[in-house]
């Protein structure tokens, strides 16, 4: 009843407080009306001023912003009709523009609906978000992003490298006049003699044998340069440029996505709201369906509130520590940080030793040989599993705040995973370029260790392939051997221990780091194993379904919801670290190490990059001059200055926006205080007037 009166009352207030709707810039509120319910949401009734607001933006369609008006539907439709009657006399050009804009927006909404329909896994993601919340959903969104990225990269590689290689393999032959010592040119990956059947399976897992002489690895590609009358295709150049463009493309996608994530994080003011308000007002997911989901959600909310109250009590207690206790706490933290650091160093040494050992033991056959081949992957995975577990326990002992504990554990895991991969690569590099051994005679002949690595790029590609495959095997094995049995035990037995262990929770940070690690492996290996992106696409699709199954069957909803805004940005940042590691490997392999003389598209060159200058001089004179000009100082310095100016502009814009947000916030506070002051003044005044009368 009162709401109806309020609506009628607001209808009478034509000069109400202007309501801003969903237009971009924040606008100051005009002077509040003298209505008693000033604190309620208000809106501007008059279509004229509403039309004026829209005309300011140059919008050609008045009805669009009707959607965001908080008035009943019947009144909205009345306004719509009134506005249509109010249509001013337009010239034919303007009316044509308006009708075109209308149909364009209709087309856009249809396309938007269509894209929404064909979006990959849309229903599954909605279901996951509804049942487990935004944090878990952000993991699956990240996974979907990586699947699409890998698939598009594969399209790129297939189009420019794979298909031309297949087509031109039989057609042309490149310059075969490779000069070099005969020993360097010996390379025959095909298995000799009669091959046992089980060797095929082993070869599938290790990338040797029949897998090695296939388009999967670098070694199989030839340095064919087709030159027809009006068509020429230079496979080595295409290979190089595709690799470079692949990295640039990935960087573009990641930064675009990071831009949206940071924009959301900045728009919410950076500092999140207090946890209690968040739980009370946004804790309940209105889209939650199903009786069981509802009950779980309620338990979740109760648990969160109790945890927050408990944290509050702990914080109050911690603030009252004496000096002696504080010193003890800080020294404990320093000691435990050193312990964690020591654990990580120990992991690195074991990876180093395992890689050396494994490289020394190539050539073994059978299951033992398989074990030796996979030793680096096994050690890395074991390290990635054990060390973060121990680091988590250490972080608990350090008695930080719970949110800081999560960040510290995350940073340590990231450090461990990224650097363990680089240790593996460093070890491989050492062996390929003989940096380790005292006698470097193995490398003087061919500029690389031709005895152990007749085709070193393929070997590196095989290592990356094994890492990727092992990651997948471990994921599936964990699902089958650990997660399902755990749930069966917990659900089946009623012992105290089982209840204490409980069903597992879906750990978002650990899983996301697993994805980042997998993607980094692909980036470091893409130059040497061009089909790795498509293998990774399939692997991530399998991982999606495995994780979805484990989520719905084995996990309970998280007790501490993972905040998804800063998390998305953080994961993309970590992905960028992985990307830069891949880029480092790419640059170093292209520029420094001598390509194998016996295999691959760069076999006749002293470094991979030299194909570019070589082909450069085959271009026409004008192209050469143009490219020289682009590289000269006359062009690059103004370009650099221009980009610096653009960057300064954006930084200034961002800081201005931040400052204006703060200004508006303080203004809001001050206005509320002013209101209270004025109300008190009015009361006093009316009292004195009443007394005086």
């Amino acid at each position: 009843m009162t709401s109806q009166l309020q609506r009628q009352g607001s209808a009478a207030a034509v000069q109400g407080t202007g309501y801003t709707g969903d237009q971009g810039l924040p606008r100051l509120r005009r002077a509040p009306s003298s209505q008693s319910y000033q604190n309620g949401p208000q809106f501007n009734w008059s279509p004229a001023s509403a039309g004026r607001e829209k005309a300011e933006e140059g919008a050609v369609e008045p009805p669009k912003s009707l959607r965001s008006l908080p008035i009943p539907m019947a009144l909205k439709r009345a306004i719509c009709q009134v506005q249509q009657m109010h249509v001013p006399v337009l010239s034919s050009l303007q009316s044509w523009k308006r009708s075109k804009a209308k149909s364009l927006s209709r087309v856009r909404s249809y396309i938007g609906g269509f894209l929404n329909y064909i979006t990959l896994w849309r229903k599954s993601l909605n279901k996951i978000g509804g049942n487990f919340g935004g944090g878990v959903q952000s993991y699956f969104l990240f996974l979907r992003f990586l699947v699409v990225l890998n698939f598009l990269s594969f399209m790129l590689i297939a189009g420019f490298v794979l298909i031309p290689s297949i087509v031109f393999r039989s057609v042309a032959s490149g310059p075969m006049n490779i000069t070099g010592p005969a020993e360097c040119l010996q390379y025959d990956p095909n298995p000799q003699g009669l091959v046992k059947f089980h060797n095929y399976f082993l070869d599938l897992l290790t990338g040797t044998g029949f897998m090695e002489s296939s388009y999967l690895f670098y070694g199989y590609y030839n340095n064919t340069m087709v030159a027809g009358s009006d068509f020429s295709y230079n496979i080595p150049l295409a290979y190089l440029f595709t690799a470079i463009f692949y990295f640039a493309f990935c960087l573009l996608c990641i930064t675009a996505r990071m831009g949206t994530a940071f924009r959301v994080a900045v728009a919410t003011g950076g500092g999140a709201i207090g946890s209690y308000s968040r739980i009370v007002f946004t804790g309940w997911d209105f889209g939650c369906l199903g009786d069981r989901a509802m009950k779980l959600k309620q338990k979740n909310i109760i648990y969160q509130l109790q945890v927050d109250l408990e944290e509050e009590r702990i914080k109050n207690k911690a603030a009252t520590l004496t000096l002696g206790q504080k010193i003890f706490l800080y020294s404990l933290r320093i000691f435990l940080s050193l312990v964690a650091f020591g654990l990580i160093i120990a992991a690195f040494f074991s990876i180093f030793a395992a890689t050396n050992f494994s490289q020394g033991k190539t050539g073994e056959v059978g299951v033992l040989g398989l074990f030796f081949e996979y030793l680096p992957s096994i050690v890395i995975t074991a390290g990635n599993f054990v060390v973060p577990l121990l680091c988590d326990q250490i972080a608990l002992l350090e008695r930080y705040d719970p949110s800081i504990t999560v960040i510290v554990a995350l940073l340590r895991s990231v450090f461990l995973r990224m650097v363990s991969l680089s240790v593996l690569l460093f070890t491989l590099w050492n062996q390929i370029t003989c940096k380790q051994r005292v006698s470097a005679e193995d490398c003087t002949l061919c500029h690389y260790n031709y005895k152990s690595y007749p085709c070193w790029e393929t070997r590196v590609g095989q290592e990356m392939y094994k890492l990727a495959l092992f990651d997948l095997i471990i994921t599936i094995a964990m699902l089958v051997l650990v997660e399902f049995p755990r749930r069966m035990v917990v659900d089946g037995s009623s012992s105290k221990l089982a209840q204490w262990v409980g069903r597992q929770e879906f750990q978002v940070p650990a899983n996301v780091l697993g994805l980042v690690y997998g993607q980094t492996v692909v980036w470091t290996g893409a130059l040497f194993c061009p089909l790795l992106p498509v293998i990774n696409t399939l692997k991530f699709v399998i991982v999606f379904y495995c994780k979805k199954i484990t989520l719905f069957y084995n996990c309970r909803p998280a007790t501490k919801t993972f905040r998804s805004t800063w998390a998305t940005a953080f994961f993309l940042l970590v992905l960028l670290f992985g990307w830069s590691l891949g880029l480092l490997v790419l640059i170093y392999s292209m520029a420094q190490i001598h390509p194998s003389m016996s295999c691959g598209p760069f076999r006749s060159l002293i470094s991979m990059w030299t194909i570019v200058p070589n082909s450069f001089y085959n271009l026409s004179q004008t192209s050469q001059d143009f490219l020289f000009y682009l590289g000269s100082q006359r062009f690059s310095i103004p370009l650099f200055l221009f980009f610096s100016v653009v960057m300064c502009y954006f930084i200034a814009l961002a800081s201005v926006h931040g400052k204006s947000v703060n200004l508006l916030k303080t203004q809001l506070k001050l206005e509320a205080r002013d209101k209270q002051f004025l109300v008190k003044q009015i009361e006093e005044l009316s009292r004195t007037l009443g007394v005086a009368r």
Binding site: D22, R67, A74, G130, V280, F286, G287, A672
Partner: protein, 187 residues
């Protein structure tokens, strides 16, 4: 479907499309849902704008709403008489505000209305207590409820009057990143 629908005129559908966040197909689907709540009361032909309202009891039985602890408040906030009787216009309005693409400000306004149990345009402590009790099905002790309400007001109150006005609420909700995704009913 090739046959022309006769539930709404084209102008009506255009008006609905402009006034809500739905497409024509979704509006027709909503009419179907509205109709199946009370097939004898709701006419199939809306071209003459029939004046038909469904009571609160029927609306809150919808599967999307019947487990929601705030279902009564939601329906009341969107009804014109404040008692929960929804015409089709109000019905569409409700789901439009709760849809995925509705603007944050619009959702904030209606969220404020929903949580304001005594309809005085302020979220006072009693409103928060009622909200919390609905959320937790009264499984927290009253002392915990008091503590949480106090802390909530403390966090969000800007002008120091120990209750939340719309300005306080809006300021707080803009910093809540999950608000858009939780204040959303899929229909």
């Amino acid at each position: 479907m090739g046959n022309k629908q006769t539930i709404f005129t084209d102008e009506q559908l255009d008006a609905y499309q402009d006034c809500t966040y739905f497409t024509r197909k979704e509006i027709l689907r909503l009419h179907g849902r509205y109709h199946e709540l009370a097939p004898h009361l709701v006419p199939m032909d809306y071209t003459k704008e029939p004046d038909c309202k469904l009571p609160l009891a029927l609306i809150v039985n919808m599967p999307e709403l019947n487990e929601n602890p705030f279902r009564n408040r939601i329906v009341e906030s969107f009804s014109e008489d404040g008692l929960g009787n929804l015409s089709f216009n109000d019905f569409v309005d409700m789901f439009s505000v709760l849809s995925e693409t509705a603007s944050r400000e619009l959702k904030a306004i209606y969220a404020f209305k929903i949580y304001d149990f005594n309809v005085d345009n302020f979220l006072c402590k009693e409103d928060l207590e009622k909200t919390l009790n609905r959320l937790t099905k009264e499984e927290l002790t009253s002392e915990e409820v008091q503590l949480v309400c106090e802390k909530t007001i403390e966090e969000a109150d800007l002008d120091g009057d120990h209750k939340l006005s719309y300005a306080d609420f809006e300021n707080m909700i803009t910093r809540a990143p999950d608000f858009l995704s939780t204040f959303h009913i899929r229909i």
